[in-house]
């Protein structure tokens, strides 16, 4: 298992190097660098001004040279300076990473808990009215556009009833725990509604397969209660395929949710990465995207290791 983990870690490192190069080059090849945009806004800029600003921002050097300079700095722990936010990359990134972890983590846990309950209930009696009702809810959740759901929630709970704030992380000048929690309710509800349907379908499918196993029939024959059968016998087996799906979802914890963050003016990683890419902020975009990649790959490694615990038949080579 240690050898397996070591090999996977080396693979992750190689993928990160390749990924960082690909991202840097792709952003660099996008038309319109920051100085081009400045030029369009300032009619008085001369050719010399443009050349000079490109030199100041390091945009006059070849793309490969810029990448190597960035990579050297990154290896020394210096992720560079964000041009868009006028601050070091880590300073720009860390608060948003925290916000995203809270937002995405809350909705992830909530959606997972709801999905485990609903998926198990639906799988218990496939084709029943309850199963059909849960399926309908799942499809509704998957089908509803996030921006529309967010807007409806804002209009009902913030504009209509006035119960909850419509946007932001905290009220300016207040910002206590209660205030922050109130600001989380609507975005978490939006994200949970959007993701719970998919998770529930995965859990249902996995539970259906698990409940058809011989050892479940044996447990039933021995007179075990339905709750015990589901929780102690079926769920563990069902979690193996679900874990794969969850591991793949982990990257979103740090890559954020662009639409939800935009609708609720919630400063998270999704909006940060989008703005960085669109604004040609190489350093910030790279850091954000690589972080998401690292977490996704690390979560997949963790999932691979978890299989062994969930299913003793799994071995590592």
């Amino acid at each position: 298992m240690i050898r397996f983990a070591a090999i996977r870690l080396i693979e992750i490192a190689v993928v990160l190097v390749l990924l960082s190069f690909a991202i840097y080059v792709l952003i660099g090849l996008m038309p319109g660098d920051p100085i081009d945009l400045m030029r369009s806004a300032d009619p008085h800029m001369t050719a010399a001004d443009i050349a000079h600003l490109k030199a100041v921002y390091g945009l006059d050097r070849p793309l490969l040279a810029r990448y190597l300079a960035w990579a050297t700095g990154a290896l020394a722990g210096n992720l560079g300076y964000s041009r868009l936010f006028a601050e070091p990359v880590l300073t720009a990134l860390l608060p948003r990473l925290g916000n995203s972890l809270v937002l995405m983590g809350s909705s992830f846990v909530l959606a997972l808990l709801i999905a485990l309950v609903l998926g198990s209930l639906a799988a218990r009696r496939p084709g029943s009215r309850l199963d059909e009702a849960i399926n309908l809810l799942c499809f509704a959740g998957v089908s509803l556009p996030t921006f529309w759901l967010a807007l409806v929630l804002i209009l009902v709970f913030a504009a209509g009833l006035g119960w909850l704030p419509a946007s932001g992380v905290a009220t300016a000048g207040i910002g206590g725990l209660g205030d922050r929690l109130r600001h989380l309710v609507l975005p978490v509800a939006t994200l949970t509604a959007a993701s719970v349907g998919g998770y529930t379908r995965y859990v249902r499918a996995a539970m259906l397969e698990a409940l058809a196993q011989d050892h479940i029939r044996t447990a039933r024959a021995k007179g075990a209660s339905e709750v015990r059968i589901i929780v102690h016998h079926a769920l563990r087996g069902a979690l193996v395929p679900v874990t794969t799906i969850l591991a793949l979802s982990f990257g979103s914890l740090v890559s954020g949710a662009l639409v939800t963050e935009t609708m609720f003016a919630y400063p998270g990683m999704g909006k940060l990465i989008f703005d960085a890419v669109m604004g040609n902020d190489y350093n910030l975009a790279l850091a954000g995207l690589l972080l998401a990649a690292v977490v996704t790959m690390a979560a997949n490694l963790a999932a691979d290791l978890a299989y062994g615990w969930l299913d003793p038949r799994v071995t590592y080579r």
Partner: protein, 564 residues
């Protein structure tokens, strides 16, 4: 069974009660008691400033926020008069504070003497002095500091300091708007000098970036006291402000990029008002007014945002003036303005706003006339052919690609109307929109377009040198600088631009302006569409917000804002 059922109902009631209590608690928390007192104001805008340094990076959101915290020397007010904010008197030739001078190369320059208001202080109590003037000049002149208004600093050849408050700028260029030095925004030398020790690092080390809540960075009625990057900025009163006292104890500027969410925030009282400078597009604002207009004061302010369609004159078909005129005659701009914008955005006949002092009505006007448009196209050699698209003698179709900024709902609507109307006169339009960074950063400067719809934003009486002068056509030789993206070349326009810029007599200048507009309206290097309006959505209790219609934000006059 009945018992279990009763227990379930009881549990449901308890859950409902718990939920009700929770919601009641949330409701109580969601309306802090002091929010209703109107001594605080929350403003919604659609952008968050990248930096708060007044001299680096031009950005509407930054101008809006700094309007409350920083005093430029000069600005154009809501009446479009040049006004002194930080100085005591505008220099004029009549009052002797402006003195034209002859330069060695035979050109004319001017010496301008300004006096800083003696009671002006930074937010930490340090007086604003000529030390700050000299320091700001040093920063602006240094090519490594990445200051945006490099052109202004290039023309200031020297500064003579008379005393702590009075100084003279020596400019190597004499223009009619010589007294306007609004881009010369002071930096506090006592705080920024250390950050400027390495000029190449100044844009990074400036305390506006590293310590933006330092009160000494601001000399306006307010100072920035809290910055939640990407989310909101809080401003509180500057205790050292010596001007009229501002009413609001605290102002929060909250960035909400999505305009639908911005409106929902307004309805939920999360924000009190939406700033017109960075608010929703007109069609959304009109829809909002229909539903909720009675709850707010809605101000529509047309201004200097000139929407037009640039025509690439390097394309043979568009190089023919008759084709350009036919395109304008074939578009019903009055109907577009009426149906899409409820007539709130006036149709443009030239690049100059009716609000500008140099504006004239005495130019050719093009009303919708598809019959005449077809006749012009026939005369230009584009004849009706199969499929409804005209072709020339070589069989080439009269077809163009029209670009605009992708995702701009209003422009996309106008694009579709134009496409349909031009189809009626036999012109094929293919729409290919691009993200703003691609359109402005690549396609326009490289002149990689047939037609491009976007806006020019100018200052009052702004001479259109960069967009019409033949030396301003972007190409590889000039590093793609200049904004004459159409490639318009006219010796007469070049002459008028030069003459207008240097003509000090207002009457003669007005005649030059009129000639320039006439030439534009005859030549039509671009198709004028309309002047865009900014929409301000204000609470009924707020008075004193006076939209300028020019590039200066309403927040510069924040001390006039009062609750009623």
């Amino acid at each position: 069974m009945p018992v279990r059922g009763a227990r379930r109902r009881g549990a449901g009631r308890r859950s409902a009660a718990a939920l009700g209590s929770a919601l009641a608690l949330l409701a109580a928390l969601s309306h802090p008691a002091d929010a209703a007192a109107h001594d605080m104001l929350t403003i919604g805008i659609t952008q968050f400033p990248a930096t708060l340094n007044p001299d680096i990076d031009a950005m509407a959101a930054k101008s809006y926020v700094l309007g409350m915290a920083v005093r430029p020397f000069t600005v154009y007010d809501a009446g479009w008069r040049l006004d002194c904010l930080l100085c005591t008197r505008l220099p004029t030739i009549a009052n002797g504070l402006a003195m034209p001078i002859a330069l060695k190369d035979g050109k004319k320059g001017i010496d301008l003497t300004y006096t800083i208001r003696p009671d002006a202080k930074w937010g930490d109590g340090v007086p604003v002095t000529t030390d700050d003037v000299v320091f700001t000049y040093r920063v602006g002149r240094n090519p490594q500091s990445a200051v945006t208004a490099a052109d202004l600093y290039r023309h200031i050849t020297k500064i003579d300091v008379k005393d702590k408050h009075t100084f003279t700028l020596h400019l190597d260029k004499l223009t009619f708007d010589y007294a306007a030095i609004d881009d010369f925004v002071l930096l506090p030398a006592h705080l920024e000098r250390a950050a400027f020790a390495d000029p190449a690092q100044y844009r990074i080390r400036s305390r506006y970036n590293t310590d933006p809540t330092n009160p000494g960075l601001y000399d306006g009625p307010y100072r920035i006291s809290q910055v939640a990057t990407g989310s909101y900025i809080v401003l509180t009163r500057n205790p050292y402000w010596a001007g009229p006292p501002p009413h609001f104890r605290r102002i929060t500027v909250r960035a909400i990029e999505n305009t639908a969410a911005l409106e929902a925030n307004l309805l939920s009282s999360t924000i009190d008002m939406v700033a017109g400078e960075l608010g929703p597009p007109l069609d959304e604002a009109l829809a909002f007014e229909r539903q909720h207009g009675s709850q707010f004061d809605m101000i529509y302010k047309p201004g200097l945002i000139f929407e037009h369609v640039d025509l690439n004159l390097a394309r043979p078909a568009l190089a023919d003036r008759r084709v350009r005129e036919a395109l304008l005659l074939g578009s019903d701009r009055a109907a577009i303005s009426q149906s899409l914008f409820a007539g709130r955005q006036p149709v443009a006949d030239s690049f100059m706003s009716p609000l500008d002092s140099g504006y004239t009505k005495d130019i050719p006007h093009y009303r919708y006339d598809p019959v005449k448009a077809k006749a012009l196209l026939e005369a230009a050699g584009w004849h009706a052919a199969g499929g409804g698209i005209r072709r020339n003698a070589a069989g080439q179709p009269l077809s163009f690609v029209l670009k605009t900024t992708a995702g701009d709902h209003t422009r996309e609507l106008v694009e579709q109307v134009l496409q349909s109307e031009w189809r009626q006169i036999g012109v094929d339009i293919r729409i290919k929109n691009e993200p703003a960074r691609v359109l402005f950063g690549d396609s326009l400067p490289h002149r990689d377009f047939d037609m491009a719809m976007y806006a020019w934003i100018s200052a009052p009486d702004s001479v259109p040198r960069s967009i019409f002068d033949s030396t301003e056509i972007p190409d590889a030789a000039n590093g793609y600088s200049g904004q004459n993206d159409t490639g318009f070349k006219s010796a007469e326009m070049d002459r008028l631009i030069e003459a207008t810029e240097t003509e000090l007599d207002p009457a003669k200048r007005k005649a030059l302006w009129a000639a320039m507009q006439r030439l534009y309206a005859i030549q039509l290097p671009s198709l004028p569409l309309y002047f865009r309006s900014n929409v301000f959505i204000l609470p009924k209790w707020l008075k004193g917000v006076a939209p300028t219609g020019n590039q200066y934000p309403t927040t510069l006059w924040i001390t006039d804002w009062q609750p009623q």
